[in-house]
């Protein structure tokens, strides 16, 4: 059985003009990357590596200078209007810093309704919004509808971002540093939610992260970006356990990790 390819980036290139000069900076240089149905791909790199630009291109928020972006069989650059919107609905973003991706003056209800425009009536939207909030652990959903984003904790805002993303039944979620706003002790809750949604709905993930440990535990495949290029990609084990590229090796080694086995008993030793 061949698995369906959801997203296919081919030789994508994007240059930006450096401010105040005519100098071009290659943010993304000839990058090819695929995401198949139901799998998790991590795009790993440091700031300035071009990983977030690539994510924006994948989402159709930015047009590449060269190369193609094919989503569920449709080349994005050939689509317009209604057709583009209906194809793009299948792919939803979760942005870095969930706090900043919500309008601070609009309620949770308003934020959820954005993703539920396809439903017929406000009553339907409301019922569905409550279901989705419940599903992501903002319970009871009703009690969250009239809150404002700043009244939620970092972890709760992250859940809200996830609820909004799954509202339109996407086949692919592009998550840019999805844990950046969440405290360490609640990170696992957010990750378990993403894992559960994948199991339930077969959602595929393209996760953009600087966190190697997270990529290692989450992704089936990893692509490492450096200075706009993918320097190495492959199965997570191959890339992160036996990196072939010098930069990947440097990156893997730089990650501070807690060494030694986890103590089996918490305390009272």
């Amino acid at each position: 059985m061949t698995t369906e390819t959801l997203l296919e980036l081919e030789h994508v290139t994007k240059a930006f003009k450096r401010r105040g000069t005519s100098e071009q900076v290659l943010a993304v240089d000839q990058v090819s990357l695929t995401v198949r149905a139901g799998e998790s791909v991590a795009l790993v790199g440091e700031s300035g590596s071009g990983k977030s630009t690539l994510a924006r291109i994948a989402l159709g928020l930015e047009l590449p200078d060269a190369g193609s972006v094919v989503l569920t069989g449709h080349e994005l650059s050939t689509l317009r209007g209604k057709q583009l919107r209906s194809v793009r609905r299948r792919m939803q973003p979760i942005f870095q810093d969930a706090g900043a991706s919500f309008n601070p003056r609009r309620s949770v209800r308003a934020a959820m309704f954005q993703g539920l425009r396809h439903l017929g009536s406000d009553d339907e939207r409301q019922a569905r919004a409550v279901d989705l909030l419940d599903r992501v652990g903002l319970r009871p959903g009703e009690s969250f509808l009239h809150r404002l984003p700043h009244e939620l904790s970092g972890g709760q805002r992250q859940r809200l971002a996830i609820a909004r993303a799954i509202a339109s039944d996407p086949v692919l979620i592009v998550a840019d540093e999805p844990l950046s706003g969440a405290d360490v002790s609640v990170r696992g809750q957010v990750m378990n939610l993403l894992v559960d949604l994948q199991k339930e709905r077969g959602i595929a993930y393209l996760m953009i992260t600087h966190d190697i440990s997270l990529a290692r535990s989450f992704a089936d495949r990893v692509a490492v970006m450096h200075h706009g290029s993918v320097v190495e990609q492959g199965s997570t084990d191959d890339v992160l356990s036996e990196p072939k590229d010098d930069y990947t090796r440097l990156l893997v080694r730089a990650v501070p990790e807690l060494n030694g086995p986890m103590p089996s008993r918490a305390y009272l030793t």
């Binding site: 440091e46 700031s47 599903r135 992501v136 652990g137 319970r139 904790s153 970092g154 972890g155 709760q156 405290d183 360490v184 002790s185 609640v186 990170r187 696992g188 809750q189 990750m191 378990n192 939610l193 894992v195 559960d196 339930e200 600087h210 966190d211 190697i212 440990s213 997270l214 290692r216 535990s217 440097l250 990156l251 080694r253 730089a254 990650v255 501070p256 990790e257 807690l258 060494n259 030694g260 986890m262 103590p263 089996s264 008993r265 918490a266 305390y267 009272l268 030793t269």
Partner: protein, 343 residues
């Protein structure tokens, strides 16, 4: 034995906002002696930055109030010190570097002048030029950086310049508040290494404040774990990491590893980081604790020694009572069970 450089005892700090109060520190105790590396670990709202600010007299006046406990520097009580009396204590004996160097460096002043100012403040008679070069070398920057403006430097280089400014004051204790958080992992590793080098070369004490347990584990000998305005566990870092005494410390250790269990689930702590709008009567972690007992929310547990080590203490009733050992199954397992996310 001489007095520690910094000694904070059962400190309580409350912030007064127009419509509410935040009980930022609810009893935090911490000591920094000579030539030590000390790490303070905590999540947002744990009070770790408030403790650093209190140690330098930098609590916002009119907003923050010290409602209990004490701060002593080199044995001298400075708890109620007025703003201007703090001035001679800043930089030396205690200097601080912050998370975001750009907001503490003057954007229109070259690096050499900024370091020079700090040198002159503490030793007005000395020629600064050679000393600037020495300090740049100490933070492993080329001498050419002296003529640069902050915006011409990378994030990691700015952090090094800020360290040079702090070290110009010849502190005996350097407090670093999340110095690597805004940096990439490769740069972060370099800064941690630099802190270690500086500590060894100069014999200065380093107090590192971080949310990143692994960074603290890598650098520090002594460790303090903060939760909801309190120090819940303290002791030698390797002791804490091999025998965590507080369920929160254990939970944080598992969560920080980003590991998945046999069912593919990530270890986590149920619930959310608490708001500090209330004063906790009992253990602040009780509401999220997988092994909480009935009285945990009603009575604050006293600091109790862990694994028979006098210098390793944690505040947990389980340690006090030392009973019910066999009831405590793996906390990670219990944590996953309690997690409020599943459908």
């Amino acid at each position: 034995m001489s007095a520690p450089i910094l000694s904070i005892n059962d400190l309580q700090v409350t912030y007064h906002a127009s419509d509410r109060q935040v009980f930022a520190l609810q009893g935090a105790t911490l000591k920094a002696g000579a030539s030590e590396t000390i790490g303070v670990v905590g999540e947002s709202g744990s009070g770790k930055s408030t403790i650093a600010r209190a140690a330098l007299g930098l609590l916002p006046s009119g907003v923050a109030e010290i409602t209990g406990g004490s701060i002593a520097i080199n044995g001298r009580d400075v708890t109620g010190l007025r703003r201007r009396d703090w001035q001679p204590l800043r930089g030396k004996p205690i200097a601080m570097v912050f998370q975001d160097p750009l907001s503490f460096l003057n954007p229109v002043m070259r690096v050499d002048r900024q370091i020079g100012e700090a040198i002159r403040r503490h030793a007005p008679q000395r020629s600064t030029k050679d000393r600037v070069v020495d300090l740049l070398e100490l933070v492993q920057l080329p001498a050419s950086v002296a003529r640069s403006y902050p915006h011409e430097l990378s994030g990691g280089m700015r952090q090094r310049v800020l360290m040079a400014v702090a070290l110009a004051c010849e502190p005996s204790l350097l407090i670093a508040d999340e110095p690597t958080t805004a940096l990439d992992v490769t740069t972060q590793a370099e800064i941690v290494k630099l802190l270690r080098d500086i500590q060894r070369t100069l014999g200065v004490s380093v107090l590192l404040i971080s949310h990143n347990l692994a960074v603290v584990a890598e650098l520090c000998d002594q460790m303090y774990v903060m939760y909801a305005g309190r120090v819940v566990e303290s002791g030698p870092a390797d002791e804490i990491l091999s025998h965590p005494g507080h369920p929160y410390t254990y939970g944080l250790m598992t969560a920080a590893r980003s590991l998945r269990d046999a069912d593919g689930r990530y270890a986590t702590i149920a619930g959310d980081v608490p708001s500090l709008a209330e004063r906790f009567v009992g253990c602040p972690f009780a509401a999220r604790c997988p092994v909480a007992m009935e009285h945990c929310t009603q009575l604050a547990p006293p600091p109790t020694s862990v694994a028979g080590q006098a210098n390793h203490v944690a505040a947990c009733w389980h340690l006090v009572e030392g009973k019910g050992r066999d009831d405590h199954r793996d906390i990670a397992g219990a944590g996953a069970r309690h997690e409020g996310v599943q459908a």
